[in-house]
Symmetry: C2
Subunit: 396 residues, 2 copies
């Protein structure tokens, strides 16, 4: 058979993370490589009750085909939360339910990107987005992140000298770096994007996972209703049910709807109904508070252990939310070498190079804290420190 | 904001069917326009039991992230069914679970189609496929269908004079025409596609819905393991749970996996687990037999009523499976006019023009029988016949 594959598929690699996760799935390994929510914080009993109620009360409807946009009460719940938490003026018509927030990237890619078009992205940037936009043969314009968010001088230069279709970013507890944009940076970013009429795709997978208790307004709140937001129930409800959403202005939503119809008609309706019932019958804010308490402790143990046993020339972010710490080793120390050596001691980290669209990052690594317990964190970080010392004193 | 949308999205229309379905959702309307499985034949009680068992026995795992390929026992179940029903030599590694079979079209589009590439398609062809491939800016090479399948002389001419990436078809109870390819046509089609090394994307959404009791081998069975098959649990289990699959040779599957990762990481894992449990605990063949008995009766009532009250110059297919009858009105009689006039009498049909990628079909219509009861079928077809008589005797 003569398979003449598309250009796009020939130029896209398998997900590096998913390949690494296969290696690290061995239960003997302490894995900081993945990005899994802690299963102990998934309310399987509550979900079981909600599923039973939906299937008993309205099973035949919940199992039938449904609308492309998604279940109206669920869309209204999301819109209402945007209004009350952030003061955004959106309603249910601005919300479309997707298969996790990853699918939003695919849909927005379809709506904006022709071959060779450019997308502005954080450097380092989220690997899932890089992979998704690569499917549409995007070129990337990376803007470095610093402690407060994207480097504004660099961004201005990119806006002045290039032409992009949109900017993509994760202002809350960014993946992979763990940093959150400061409030003033959000304001400045919103202003400059509006000035240049540059759409912003704001990925807010971690907005609810803020264990410092601070509610941070999305950049979209400073963009006069023009932002495109994506959100996810994966981190606060269930990742396996693949419930995410995109929130967009009417004009953009009309295009996203066409892309969704062509992609898979509509998202799993039974899961939408179970989620909607769960939100009606449970105190999701209390549940989220419990997750944040648990993740905050884990981040605290990890940071304390790193401070205790890492040398001064190793830098790491101090996340106030999300699931990741970002490690920067001294120049010349390869995180791939650290990965290999730590894996021999049955500890897995994630080397940072795949997050850089323009090369670099050889000394960086992403460390997940959400899916390990206290002993694993203390033991695992201790081993990483020992291994780091070994590779620094051993020629490659 | 300066939304510079992609070429693809600007050239793709909203689904005509989904727009019509909004008009016909009024419960006072007898609708033959959609393609819904009959909700009375969805086993909501069995699914409720399976959901309860999965969530009770293994909830935290079933709600967690999972693999891109899908739940291994479910993939093995599908592979085993291909082996025993059709003698295909496939195993679980050749199966990937998708969000309904519609997503297979998106994934295969990603894997093969660059802007301007051609796809060979039945004429009339499935609207969901036309929409999905249009997202990748495909051109269509339509091959007319006759009673036995694609017109082979025309197909040979297309293969000789053009260059396509693959052929797409629905050999069992085709949507929209309702016809099934004959066995000899399947054999000939498989042979010519192999001769020209042309991949075949075989959409088998209706393979299990054969109420004449005949098991028809897929065209892929005559292609030496080179076919790409898609299947769906929407018609035999639940459409709302969006459970479909693609079956492909190893080499192609490697590409599809990359496309699936980039699209949404993986399909709803809880639903995969519920489906898998349901298949373990229930006699799906008995369930399918019940659906076929019910749909066979409905098709019979519809055909009998059409034979009774349609004039001789109206042609219609006599489906042996699936969910649709295809109507061809006398030349010059517009099915859009019939649609409008019938809708005034609260009966909805689906005009056939959107199924033609190269124009034409103005006198054709698709009539669904699966989602109406006997009274609705007899009354509705009677009204269509009356309205048809009226518009033929009234100048437009």
């Amino acid at each position: 058979m003569n398979h003449r594959y598309s250009e796009r598929i020939c130029s896209t690699q398998k997900s590096f993370i998913r390949e690494i996760l296969k290696v690290t799935a061995n239960p003997e390994i302490i894995s900081f490589a993945g990005g899994l929510p802690n299963p102990n914080l998934i309310d399987d009993e509550g979900i079981q009750k909600a599923a039973a109620a939906v299937l008993k009360e309205d099973g035949k409807t919940a199992l039938q085909y449904s609308t492309t946009e998604g279940h109206p009460p669920l869309r209204e719940w999301i819109a209402e939360r945007y209004r009350t938490r952030y003061g955004l003026s959106v309603d249910a018509d601005n919300i479309l339910i997707t298969n996790g927030s990853q699918q939003c990237l695919d849909l927005v890619g379809k709506v904006y990107i022709d071959k060779g078009d450019s997308v502005i992205i954080e450097d380092p940037g989220y690997l899932g987005a890089i992979q998704s936009f690569s499917m549409f043969q995007a070129e990337f314009l990376p803007v470095p992140l610093n402690e407060e968010g994207p480097d504004m001088a660099c961004l201005k230069n990119v806006l002045d000298t290039t032409s992009a279709k949109f900017m993509y970013g994760i202002p809350n507890s960014q993946n992979p770096s763990g940093i959150s944009y400061s409030e003033s940076r959000r304001r400045d970013l919103g202003a400059i994007l509006c000035e240049y009429e540059m759409p912003f795709l704001e990925d807010d997978a971690y907005g609810e996972l803020q264990f410092d208790g601070v509610t941070r307004k999305p950049v979209s709140a400073y963009m006069d209703g023009e932002g495109i937001l994506t959100g996810s129930f994966s981190k606060i409800f269930s990742p396996g049910m693949r419930m995410g959403w995109v929130c967009a202005p009417d004009e953009v939503m009309e295009k996203i709807l066409i892309a969704k119809q062509a992609s898979d008609l509509h998202s799993n309706y039974l899961s939408q109904r179970i989620l909607s019932k769960y939100l009606d019958e449970n105190d999701i804010d209390a549940h989220i508070a419990g997750i944040n308490e648990a993740y905050g402790k884990r981040a605290g143990w990890m940071i304390a252990k790193m401070e205790e046993c890492f040398p001064d020339d190793v830098h790491f972010t101090r996340p106030t939310g999300g699931m990741f710490v970002w490690l920067t080793l001294p120049e010349g120390v390869s995180s791939t070498r650290l990965f290999d050596a730590a894996l021999e001691r049955k500890v897995a980290i994630l080397p940072g190079t795949p997050f850089y669209t323009n090369g670099g990052g050889e000394s960086t690594a992403r460390i997940n804290f959400s899916n390990s317990d206290k002993d694993e964190i203390l033991t695992g970080i201790g081993i990483v420190a020992e291994v780091l010392e070994e590779i620094r004193t051993t020629p490659q």
